[in-house]
Amino acid sequence: MEYVGKIFVILISSILINNFVMSRFLGICPFLGVSKRVETAVGMGAAVTFVMAMTSLITYIIQYAILEPLGLEYLQTIIFILVIASLVQFVEMVIQKTSPTLYQALGVYLPLITTNCAVLGVAIINIDEKYDLIQALFNGVGAALGFTLAIVLFAGIRERLELSDIPKPLKGFPIALITAGLMSVAFLGFQGLIK
């Protein structure tokens, strides 16, 4: 029971308290790049969720089956990048074959995840926090859900901004960055929710 409780804490922590975009400032590029419409934001969130869960699993196995026994921890970053890139490519191929509709919907966002630092971030945090396999998986899913939450909320705000009367110098990216900053301040409110 205590174990389930700990997993719940990890989930809440990665979704709200240590939200990847709002608190750790990882994955800012897709957060700003594909948040113009809620639809695409949801698509990006779904793709990231899948890739993060898979990455958490595979990098965990590689870390403890290959890197640690051989004393090659210093290769962590480059090998994790290798894993993420291959995984994204593989997932893209499988989706294209099995579900052309989903492939169309995700479009360019799928390959974009390759360079999403949030994915590398979750893999490295899993190792740093010394999570076990199940905890690592939940941390990955939680981080991705947090990313989805942030990007969808942000996209909703940006859709409204489109129709608002914004002073000319602030139109476009400036107001988006200000909005992102305010959202980050709001997420600060979750700090201290757990212990």
Partner: protein
């Protein structure tokens, strides 16, 4: 030494492994594509405007290749693209005339009266929800740029007077603005048509007059003036039938408010080649404006000030002696 070897081996080995898996997967999960779809995609404009009804140019190319879409479905590319797609698919293509969007309103700030000052969301859809918009005329262009934002080709702009105007050179006739306009003010008009009624107000004439200097007041002078039955009159509003209109521009001359627009710079005049004319009087009889004079067996002459360039005589002449030319002045 051993450490370097180990790291090289594990990193290289893993790279090799992932590479092999990907190579295998690309064979196993290869998606077969119709080569014609790719060829069609090459000749499409690539604007991904969606005017064809498919999601982007890729979607349209796939649909054509699998026979679900017509080869001339791309309005943006027009007939040149349709011809190329036709040759890829191996079918004949009918030539279609190019269409251009036109905003049917001239009620800019000099001509039209506003009923209140609007300071809300800068969008025509939002503005038209507030008592039908701020214009006195419920049919007029609000000029808040909903069509401008809808246009994928930068072909429509809000002019100084505060109404939208289409740039005919850039317009591709995709119809995006037609869908976007909450007032249904934009119409796709054949490129060859030089006469348009630039008003869609169905209000009674007195009300139109109060709201706008250049609206159609329903006086029917144009209907009476038109010799070709090319003007319909329904609901207090004249409408030109583009299939019957011959661009004689007489209606535009008669219109008391200027609601009918005609490009007088493109008005034509008939010229009879004297060496070919056999004096049959066929053209004189067919002319509805008494613009041709001449006795039987003698060379005929066109009266330049009466000729409207309608082209009836050109079709009627048995020896092809008449041509339509642009007016010199």
């Amino acid at each position: 030494m051993e450490k370097i070897l180990l790291s090289l081996l594990s990193l290289g080995g893993m790279g090799l492994l992932f590479g092999a898996v990907l190579a295998f997967a690309s064979k196993k999960f290869a998606v077969e594509k119709d080569p014609r779809a790719e060829a069609i995609r090459e000749v499409l404009p690539g604007a991904n405007c969606g005017a064809c009804g498919y999601p982007g140019c890729d979607g349209f190319a796939d649909a054509v290749a699998s026979g679900r879409a017509p080869v001339d479905g791309c309005t943006v590319g027009g007939s040149p693209v349709a011809l190329k797609i036709g040759s890829i698919m191996g079918v004949e293509v009918d030539q279609k005339e190019r269409v251009i969007a036109r905003v049917l309103c001239q009620g800019d700030c000099n001509n039209a009266v506003n009923k209140y000052e609007y300071r809300g969301i800068q969008d025509c859809v939002a503005a038209s929800m507030l008592a039908g918009g701020y214009k006195g005329c419920g049919y007029g262009c609000l000029g808040l740029g909903t069509c401008v934002r809808a246009c994928p080709f930068d072909a429509i702009h809000i002019e100084d007077g505060g109404i939208a105007v289409v740039d005919p050179d850039k317009c591709t006739g995709c119809g995006k603005c037609v869908e976007a306009c909450p007032k249904n003010l934009i119409e796709l008009i054949p490129e060859s048509s030089q006469v348009q009624v630039l008003c869609i107000s169905r209000d009674p004439g007195k009300q139109v007059r109060q709201n706008c200097k250049v609206g159609c007041i329903g006086c029917r002078l144009c209907v009476k003036a038109c010799q070709f039955e090319a003007i319909d009159f329904v609901d207090n509003l004249a409408r030109i039938r583009y299939d019957k209109c011959v661009n004689c521009m007489v209606c535009a001359e008669k219109c008391p408010t200027g609601a009918i627009y005609a490009d007088f710079a493109k008005r034509k005049v008939a010229i009879i080649a004297e060496d070919k004319c056999i004096g049959c009087t066929a053209c004189r009889k067919v002319c509805k404006f008494d613009a041709i004079e001449g006795e039987r067996k003698q060379k005929h002459r066109v009266l330049g000030d009466k000729c409207t360039g309608c082209g009836q005589c050109v079709e009627r002449c048995p020896v092809d002696a008449i041509t339509l030319n642009l007016r010199q002045n």
